[in-house]
């Protein structure tokens, strides 16, 4: 009897700890959601300026590179630098003057060229504002970010080359990951060594909830959906990716020349920016168009124009297949790039 009651009591204790665990998880999720709504209108671009201090000789030139990393699924538009205060005798030119758009999950680069006149040696400061806009559904926001440039004017200073900065893959958001991972990994090791399972499980749970929330905050779930919803023919091995210049065969050229004209025929190429074979499909259509007077073409980004993809029937079982070459006159849809030249010629033969 006594043992029974002890067991029951310990079971009650277990239930209580389970309840505490579940409510902690719930509180965490709620907290994250609340934070997400409060910061919904935050700046979306991560701005980094290279180098920290611009070193240049008097009457010299130096370039400062601003890398605008867009880690969200929202496109940023019209990024432009406005100068606020510039030391006298200094000129600053932006190249390009304005960045029309920064695609989701990619970087934009603005180079500021500093030219100093006859300035004495010393440290100067220039301040500016970076302005860009972005739209979320129907509401659009303008974001203004202050920028400060520190210039070190010295005789004999050699400006730092900025060419290599910000080129290549975006690593936006890497720093918080490294810090969080290091802290959590250290905690995990400590608790695992001490065999404190509750702590280990809680930390793993924290990692899961935190990473999910951070990912959703940066619209990474939309990105995942986008990746799944577009099928590129070379990606899962439906065909091999083709690169390079398509060289139309002599037979194709002569047949194209012999076609009855001048009935204008439009060819559409549906592509995705990350698709390996798409440039080749575009090149084939360009080569066809170069041979004749009567072929017009348009390249359509399926991720930006899903409604056009649906209209021209390049969606197969809810998946947009790229590259897809479409002949609207006959409704022919050619997927992939394998034997595209022959298939496209064949499709052109059957046009009215």
């Amino acid at each position: 009897m006594k043992g029974d009651s002890v067991a029951r009591r310990s079971e009650r204790g277990v239930r209580r700890s389970e309840a505490v665990f579940v409510s902690l998880c719930l509180a965490m999720v709620l907290g994250v959601l609340l934070t997400a709504t409060v910061f919904a209108q935050d700046p979306i671009l991560d701005i980094s300026v290279f180098p920290d201090v611009l070193q240049l000789p008097p009457s010299g030139e130096a370039t400062s590179r601003i890398v605008l990393a867009n880690p969200t699924a929202t496109e940023a538009d019209d990024a432009e630098v406005f100068l606020l205060s510039v030391p006298e005798g200094m000129e600053i030119a932006s190249e390009p003057e304005i960045l029309a758009k920064i695609d989701p999950f990619s970087d934009g680069i603005l180079d500021l060229h500093f030219t100093v006149g006859e300035l004495p040696e010393g440290t100067y400061e220039a301040s500016a504002e970076l302005v860009y806009t972005y739209c979320d559904d129907d509401s659009c926001f303008e974001v203004i970010e202050p920028l400060t440039f520190v210039l070190d004017v010295r005789v004999g200073a050699i400006p730092i080359a900025v060419d290599q900065f910000g080129v290549g893959r975006s690593t936006a958001g890497l720093l918080p990951l490294i810090i969080a991972a290091a802290v959590l990994a250290a905690a995990l090791v400590v608790f695992a060594l001490a065999r404190k399972m509750v702590a280990v499980v809680t930390i793993v749970g924290l990692i899961a909830v935190g990473a999910l929330a951070y990912g959703v905050l940066y619209d990474q779930h939309e990105q995942a959906q986008g990746i799944g919803a577009v099928l590129c023919t070379s990606c899962v091995g439906i065909e091999e990716a083709s690169h390079g210049e398509p060289n139309l065969s002599e037979a194709t050229r002569s047949e194209l020349a012999a076609f009855e004209g001048p009935q204008i025929t439009e060819i559409l190429v549906f592509y995705a920016v990350w698709c390996h074979s798409c440039p080749y499909a575009e090149a084939v259509v360009e080569a066809f168009s170069a041979e004749t007077e009567w072929i017009e073409y348009r390249f359509i980004d399926v991720e930006a124009n899903p409604e056009l993809a649906a209209e021209y029937n390049v969606i197969r079982s809810n998946r947009t297949v790229v590259p897809a070459t479409v002949l609207p006159a006959t409704g022919a849809v050619l997927f992939g790039v394998e034997h595209l030249e022959a298939r496209l010629l064949d499709a052109l033969r059957s046009r009215p």
Binding site: V14, S17, E18, F21, P71, F105, G168, R169, S170, T171, A172, G173, L174, L177, R195, M197, V198, V200, V201, V204, G205, I207, A208, V209, G210, A211, L212, A213, Y214, G215, V216, Y218, Q220, H221, E222, Q223, A224, Q225, I227, G228, A229, L231, T233, S234, C235, V236, G237, I238, E239, E240, A241, W274, H276, R316, S317, N318, R319, V321, F335, G336
Partner: protein, 262 residues
């Protein structure tokens, strides 16, 4: 789970597996791709799929250079919930492995680390070649994408198709010869989930006082493990076949957050 009698545990598993196949392979068409990452190896190119393949996604994210917070969160959440339990209970490709589990043998134990090599290789290949290299040889993609698209007129019989068929053929032969061949030695998703096996809520419990070390469980295990010695193995897929077969009821499959060292 405790309410289920031992036999009904396997019935429940078959039902969950069937729902995994329905949800994964034959996701309700018309709703399109969702934001959900599938907790198993399952091709998102599969014509009726509505979920994203975690291995395919991570390769794409590496190609883009995105820090995959959402992906990490999803994988860790799945791992915390069931660890490799998804291999035994949900993954459609795991279910295929299951159906072909004729020879539950204990061989090539050290080769089970091959799947970590596959995982690391997949990641490195994606980074170096900026392409989804694993997808081009993945047998799940052969079965769920290559073959259906052949009949839909998107794919043709060409070299990539034959490579897919070869990888599928080799995997199928392997599965027939060694139970859960793919899950044991090669699956990168299994490698990922196995990292969480020791913390997952779904787990096998061994009552040392009732276990007689008879070894019946080891003959039932499709992964070639010995649950009576090591019930918390990183390769355990929590299928519960050992618990069903245990003559003394010392092994049990339970779902609960871990508290102490058990």
């Amino acid at each position: 789970m405790r309410l289920l009698s031992r036999l009904r545990l396997q019935t429940a598993r078959r039902i969950v597996q069937a729902s995994g196949v329905l949800f994964g392979l034959f996701g309700v068409t018309g709703i399109g791709m969702t934001h959900i990452i599938f907790p198993g190896l399952h091709c998102y190119a599969c014509p009726l799929a509505v979920t994203v393949c975690p291995i395919g996604l991570i390769q794409n994210l590496i190609v883009f250079g995105t820090v995959p917070y959402f992906w990490i969160g999803a994988i860790v959440a799945y791992g915390l919930f069931a660890g490799r339990g998804f291999c035994g209970w949900f993954c459609p490709f795991g279910t295929l492995n299951d159906l072909l589990s004729f020879r539950k043998v204990r061989i090539l134990k050290s080769a089970s680390f091959g799947k970590y090599a596959v995982l690391v290789g997949t990641v490195i290949a994606a980074w170096v070649m900026t392409d989804t290299m694993f997808c081009k040889i993945c047998p799940a993609a052969s079965l769920e994408a290559s073959i259906p698209y052949l009949f839909m007129g998107v794919a043709t019989v060409n070299r990539p198709f034959l490579i897919h068929m070869a990888s599928l053929g080799v995997t199928l032969v392997g599965m027939v010869l060694v139970a859960r061949f793919w899950c044991r030695y090669l699956c990168p998703m299994g490698a990922l989930l196995s990292l969480f096996n020791r913390v997952s809520f779904l787990r096998l419990r061994l009552r040392k006082d009732t276990c007689t070390s008879c070894g019946v469980c080891a003959t039932k295990c499709p992964m070639g493990l010995e649950p009576h010695f090591d019930h918390d193995n990183h390769n355990c897929i929590k299928c519960g076949l050992c618990a069903t077969g245990c003559p003394t009821g010392a092994l049990k499959l339970t779902v609960s957050p871990r508290r102490a060292r058990d």
